[in-house]
């Protein structure tokens, strides 16, 4: 196995394109797959030295370098303030050790339907920046995944940056994850929610679910139902049934169809009730 250690992006791009060439970021997915003999790379491009570890504010946008670790995201004031839904999700990932090594670019590129940064990035409508010798392109996260472990990255490309809009003060959000236990757990189901609230009325609702399909998915019908609705117990009861009808989960080693359906409803209900009660508390 040949290992390249490029010093800049331009050099890195010259090594990409081969069939069994893999990018090494934090290695928490890649090294495990090599050890499990799931893949046999001919060459590895170690991108550690590319200075892609940053979180920047750029006007209304936040730019995160692909090599930013999950722990850096978790401790970032910028993420905590402007993308709290992502902040919450990264706090529920792996263990401190895994969070220190694992990167946002690796979590996205790995394309697990249970990847924890992805549902929040769906709700933030993030753009993924890819570079190759041919140039640069941006792809919306909602169009990035094509199947479990599969995405639209071409062989000669890699992710350099993740970009999303700052959340504003009228935006409400939550992230819920259910697993076998608290630490080191792959989601059986996860749900990220975002929307705008004026009084008790919701708008611009976005809901993304992890681990219920072959990729992370939007629950679009459910979100549409909530748009321009006033948050009441009745609305919440109805919508928690709609989401169960909208999704088509699978049974696998981690969980069953029935459990996932029920929990999608329960997680949405719990999150929306919390929002409703906090509005009521503020108003009285």
């Amino acid at each position: 196995m040949k290992v390249y250690n490029p010093k800049n992006i331009k050099e890195a791009l010259t090594y990409l394109g081969g069939k069994d060439t893999h990018i090494l970021a934090g290695g928490t997915d890649l090294i495990v797959r090599i050890k499990d003999r799931d893949i046999y790379p001919k060459s590895i491009v170690n991108i550690k030295m590319l200075h892609l570890d940053y979180i920047k504010i750029n006007g209304d946008f936040i730019k995160v370098g692909a090599l930013t670790s999950v722990e850096t995201l978790y401790r970032s004031e910028i993420i905590n303030t402007y993308a709290p839904v992502l902040s919450d999700a990264v706090g529920k990932m792996g263990s401190p050790q895994i969070r220190n090594l694992g990167t946002i670019g690796g979590n996205i590129a790995n394309a697990s339907p249970a990847a924890d940064t992805v549902p929040p990035l769906f709700v933030l409508n993030a753009g993924i920046t890819l570079k190759s010798r041919r140039g640069k392109r941006a792809v919306a996260i909602g169009e990035f995944f094509t199947g479990p472990g599969e995405n639209i990255i071409e062989r000669d490309e890699f992710i350099t940056e993740v970009v999303f809009k700052k959340m504003e003060s009228d935006e409400v959000w939550f992230f819920k994850k259910l697993g076998q236990r608290k630490a080191l757990t792959i989601a059986k189901i996860s749900l990220a929610f975002g929307g705008r609230l004026s009084g008790r009325k919701l708008n611009e609702v976005s809901i993304a679910l992890g681990a219920v399909a072959s990729t992370v998915i939007y629950a679009k019908r459910t979100a549409d139902f909530l748009n321009s609705k006033r948050l009441t117990r009745d609305v919440i009861d109805v919508v928690s049934k709609i989401i169960q009808k909208e999704i088509e989960p699978i049974t696998d080693i981690r969980s069953t169809v029935e459990y996932r359906r029920k929990m999608a409803g329960a997680l949405l209900k719990q999150g929306l009730l919390d929002i409703m009660y906090s509005v009521i508390a503020r108003q009285s």
Partner: protein
């Protein structure tokens, strides 16, 4: 083969090795630092935890090609002039060790926590060791020992 220069327990090291060799294997087999243990080899158990540039990481998932210029601390690097680190003393005094296999990793996670946060709450301690599995103790005494070490450091510097 590649040449890497890095610091292990405050000592400069230069070694020539396979780029895909793990840090765990370099520590144990090349440098003879066998305090760091291999459990699962896949990031799940924390037995191989070392401190890399101030942060706890599983050394079973770090490759040689990622090490150049890094600073590594292992369990062997904690005692100074024959004096045990407060964490090591507290683990002994509290009887927090049974078979001992998880303890080097456990102590390195705790050390990284105390470096960043000298007076952690019980919840912060539990969070910091959430990636370290112990099959023997039930964790209660481990948490107590870490609380005790934090107090020892604050009182005696």
């Amino acid at each position: 083969m590649i040449k890497i220069k890095f610091t292990v327990n405050s000592e400069e090291r230069e070694i020539v090795t396979e780029p895909t060799r793990t840090l765990l294997s370099i520590l144990r087999e090349e440098l003879g630092l066998t305090g760091t243990k291999e459990g699962c080899g896949k990031g799940e158990c924390g037995a191989c935890t070392v401190i890399m540039d101030g942060k706890p990481v599983p050394s079973c998932l770090v490759l040689a090609c990622q090490l150049d210029g890094c600073e590594i601390t292992t369990i062997e690097g904690l005692s100074e002039n024959g004096n045990l680190d407060p964490l090591q003393k507290a683990f002994i005094e509290e009887g927090a060790v049974q078979c001992g296999f998880c303890i080097p990793g456990m102590i390195m996670s705790a050390k990284a926590l105390l470096m960043r946060n000298p007076s952690p709450t019980e919840d912060e301690i539990k969070e910091a060791i959430s990636g370290n599995l112990c099959r023997c103790t039930g964790y209660t005494k481990i948490v107590k020992a870490i609380e005790k070490a934090a107090k020892m450091i604050i009182h005696h510097g």
